[in-house]
Subunit: 121 residues, 2 copies
DNA sequence: AGCTTTTTGAGATTGTATTCGCAATAAGAA
DNA sequence: TTCTTATTGCGAATACAATCTCAAAAAGCT
């Protein structure tokens, strides 16, 4: 399994790995994901209402961007920090999560080009 | 159906409404949620890996806080804004979502009190 | 009250991501 | 090569939120 530059769905992993191992089954993908997760190599990235994606656990604090056109999720390191004061008074903030939605670099090209595929571009 | 002060799960709605209508079934809850959603009165609030909660659609831009102890989700209006620049260069940000995790006012009381229930407190 | 329409409860069913079971295959050791 | 162990493919099974079915109950109307 090679390193990817963004969190991947089990299905994306299957698709990508299938290029090298055509008969690869989804069960094997899930089995390996589980194993890698148990040993702490990877961790799940869950966006609201979506299936888990997976990325290397070694990558530090960061957040995620999802492209609305191609659906891919990207990491970004930037973080405003100091979000503790946003919560209602009396609340304690232990962790935060920021998710940005928009168009990725590949997809901003032409706003109105509806002929391009909506996923996997 | 009365107004609640935070987004509720179908199950929470069932539990709360059952106090008034004991034999209420989950099907009715889902039916009404769907109807209210179709007419635009409520909208779903989805946290990563969790079932949708529902809140009034009229409440403007805001974000969510989840208490790790009782699991309840709360709204908060505060928002740092200007998150567009956080995304990688070349990306366009159309929307953002911030989720804070921690302890709610009710649950911060005693950090080490493990005798209290973990949900519904 | 009698009739019609809408809503409901309760259980069955669906959809779908994930996991299991197990025989087959591959990889390692000797 | 032969034996042993680990991994795989593939179809079946699971888990579970959400939806459907349909007879019963409730609400409206006259």
């Amino acid at each position: 399994m090679t390193t990817a530059e963004r969190p991947l769905l089990a299905q994306e992993i299957l698709a990508l790995a299938s290029e090298a191992v055509p008969q690869l089954s989804i069960a094997t993908v899930y089995r390996n994901l589980k194993a890698l997760q148990d040993e702490g190599t990877i961790k799940p990235v869950v966006l609201p209402g979506q299936n888990p994606r997976y990325e290397l656990a070694s990558y530090g604090h960061h957040h995620h961007f999802q492209c609305r056109r191609c659906g891919r999720v990207f990491d970004f390191k930037a973080c405003p920090g100091n979000l503790e004061h946003l919560a209602p008074t009396g609340f304690t903030v232990e962790e935060h999560e920021i998710i940005l939605y928009g168009q990725c670099r590949d997809c901003v090209v032409t706003k109105a080009d509806h002929s391009r595929p909506l996923a996997g571009c």
